[in-house]
Symmetry: C2
Subunit: 216 residues, 2 copies
């Protein structure tokens, strides 16, 4: 990721806070009221020290003999992650991946809401896909403005990813989650997360081979 | 990720090697024969020192006045990542995300090959989806053995993710890339990458807000 202000909480801590919150919500639904740092750590495959350090970084320290109060901690993490209310998101590229991501994010009760999608395929534009309207790319700038869209999920074919950089800048987008295989650079002030899923798979495969070699 | 042997190359270096290789392959296709560490670094939004350190870690140091030889470096990284030949993969859960991931990975000429998928929906099983046969979950253990499947991409509904842990262990799977929202724990010897895409989006949103606050 680039263009991160220096005084911010570290990237990895933010990722873990997001993960802790999901676990805490699942605990809450099951009626669990308190959780120890080592239990939370165990679920996420990290150390209790790491959990405590992350929570200290956001100023949360009410660890009692019963562990953390689940509901209070959810609220505390949410105040950090969701900050000043909901944020509107659009998807560019409603192929398989775009549609999967839209289904994935919607109906999750997140403060992040997908409100529009864009494509160049006339079979898709003018319709709603999973309740999300799909607009032609020509209307991109206008719709981003009207709908107050701040973040783009980019799931276009990799070949056209570069061509989308300038329209995204011109529309005043503030954050891009890039799922194409082409890492994109944006000017300072636009947050970019370049994420090629192949990397995840290659990483797992590498460590599987490492494990095999050490156990041979 | 858990269950990583201590002597292995760090996770983050493996991720970046995978990303460098994709960039280098794209350069190679465009006829670029040499690349400087700072150019490679710029494309990925990191420092040249980081690039050089990563390549030093894998024992590559042939930086010349013309920069790295693209073709040689691709071969070198591939020898690390692809190691001892191809590896077979299966997808569990052929909903939207499963189908998107299958399309995404196939036809990329990776040494990682999706050879099968599994689902409980009789509308899907017995057919091929994107040229990949879809089998019922009852045949899981048998097919994993027959097809020499080492890695599972888990894209089932989150609600059933926990129930899949035991069948995955019993089938002798060595690595799991988990795309459900439930972090899963496996015994030592099975590599797990728990990846909830929501985390990425929440991270981008957090830093967009941070940027807004610092520029207000």
């Amino acid at each position: 990721m680039s263009a991160i202000p220096n005084n911010a909480i570290p990237e990895k801590t933010i990722e873990r806070l997001s993960e802790y919150r999901r676990t805490l919500k699942a605990c809450h639904e099951q009626g669990i009221t308190h959780i120890f740092s080592h239990v939370l750590a165990g679920i996420h495959g990290i150390t209790a020290v790491q959990v405590r350090r992350d929570l200290m970084l956001i100023g949360f320290s009410s660890d009692t003999k019963k562990g953390y109060d689940v509901e209070v901690l959810i609220g505390f993490i949410s105040s950090i992650l969701d900050g000043r209310g909901p944020m509107n998101i659009a998807v560019i590229g409603m192929g398989n991946l775009g549609q999967a991501l839209t289904k994935y994010f919607n109906g999750r009760g997140l403060t992040l809401r997908i409100v529009a999608s864009f494509d160049v395929d006339p079979e898709k534009t003018g319709h709603t896909i999973d309740d999300i309207p799909c607009y032609p790319m020509e209307e991109f700038e206008e719709r981003v403005d009207d709908l107050d869209i701040k973040i783009i999920i980019l799931s276009s074919p990799t070949e056209v990813a570069s061509e989308l950089v300038v329209p995204i800048i011109n529309a005043g987008i503030k954050g891009v989650l890039n799922f194409t295989s082409k890492p994109l650079n944006f000017p300072r002030g636009i947050v970019v997360e370049n994420y090629d899923i192949t990397t995840l798979l290659e990483k797992v495969a590498y460590f599987v081979k490492e494990n095999e070699e050490t156990t041979l």
